[in-house]
Symmetry: C2
Subunit: 213 residues, 2 copies
């Protein structure tokens, strides 16, 4: 192992990382759908976890739909400030997109308290006030993910894409399967794994398909 | 699998999650050092990845040292805004701690350009201006981690703890091994895995040992 650090630019390191990921996927005999490959590889890049190549699940035509929404200046709604922090701001600005997270909104706290609900659920309900195409990026709260599906089924929301990658041990698998069983366009990581970093990586991968071509 | 969501409070769900993690660790025959257990379990809670039970590595007495620093109102320096976003602000306020991330600082950009370096490295150099006990939480940039070790060896920094959990495929393993080979107090995840979520989870686990007892 070399302890020498060559003075590479971040962009070069990213390119080399994607080469390594491609080589190791090929060595494992895994071949990816070319349309989904940039998303799956970016999630592996963010986690160093190759199991995502098996567990990431996509509804039909979801990438095409997502890119149309992003080109139309979609608003991305996140469940946590960590997802929001991880989304690439220059790429989003280039696309004329918007980014909101209502989890720390005082109105949302008050609403959650009044309803005996959680801030995660109240934050999704507040997103029904937004106009224009919506993309939800849920990396933490299974209750937020369930709330989006409920609001859709009640006719109160009609998002262009729901990224459902909460992480954890309680209600997480169930919330993801609820989304898959709905007819919403989705990108889901089946099972327990996911996270704020994974949600942000998926948003970034989609945006880079437009901004880095 | 039940599709019923009981209306649990987030704190109850966290408790139940930790029970499941404990049961599965026991079933796998893994017993953890009691002082390290809350940190390892919180990382597994954040990632749903049990491999962290094997790969998280701690310098001797690091938890005791870290808790002393936090009780003394340490400043936590992060390499990314995502780590910063993931750190529990009420717990930090309760401890009288501080939190900084210089990656988007215009001075840091200018310095990186002037030096032909990266923003990650220049952001760590700026932390030498800080007073009081310092904890570094590095979840993304191996170059930032190497910079902290270099600044320490040059006598310019003397942190109470370095959390070295960058993720990735290029220079990541090497940077972690550099930290382990130094005589800095460390918490490292050996290998490629880690991330902003892992760095924030470790900081939070340490703080909760003081704020939730």
């Amino acid at each position: 192992m070399s302890l020498e650090f060559e003075n590479h630019k971040p962009q070069e390191i990213e390119g080399r990382s994607f080469e390594i990921i491609g080589q190791e996927l090929a060595a494992a005999g895994l071949s990816l759908d070319p349309q989904l490959e940039p998303i799956i590889k970016r999630v592996i890049h963010t986690t160093a976890d190759f199991s995502y190549a098996d567990s990431l699940t996509f509804s039909p035509h979801v990438v095409t739909q997502a890119l149309s929404a992003l080109e139309a200046g979609a608003t991305i709604v996140t469940d946590t400030n960590m997802v929001k922090a991880g989304i690439n701001k220059p790429a989003l600005a280039q696309l004329g997109g918007h980014l909101v997270c209502y989890i720390s909104d005082p109105q949302v706290s008050a609403r959650a308290k009044a309803d005996g609900s959680t801030r995660a659920v109240a934050a999704m309900a507040k997103a029904t006030e937004l106009e224009g195409p919506l993309i939800f990026a849920i990396g933490n709260a299974p209750t937020a993910l369930k709330a989006v599906v409920d609001l859709y089924q009640a006719g109160l929301l009609s998002p262009e894409l729901v990224i459902g990658v909460p992480v954890g041990f309680v209600n997480v698998v169930e919330a993801k399967e609820l989304l898959i069983a709905s007819d919403l366009p989705y990108i889901v990581n089946r099972g327990r794994k996911g996270g704020s970093n994974v949600a942000a990586a998926i948003v970034n991968a989609l945006m880079y398909l437009l901004t880095r071509k």
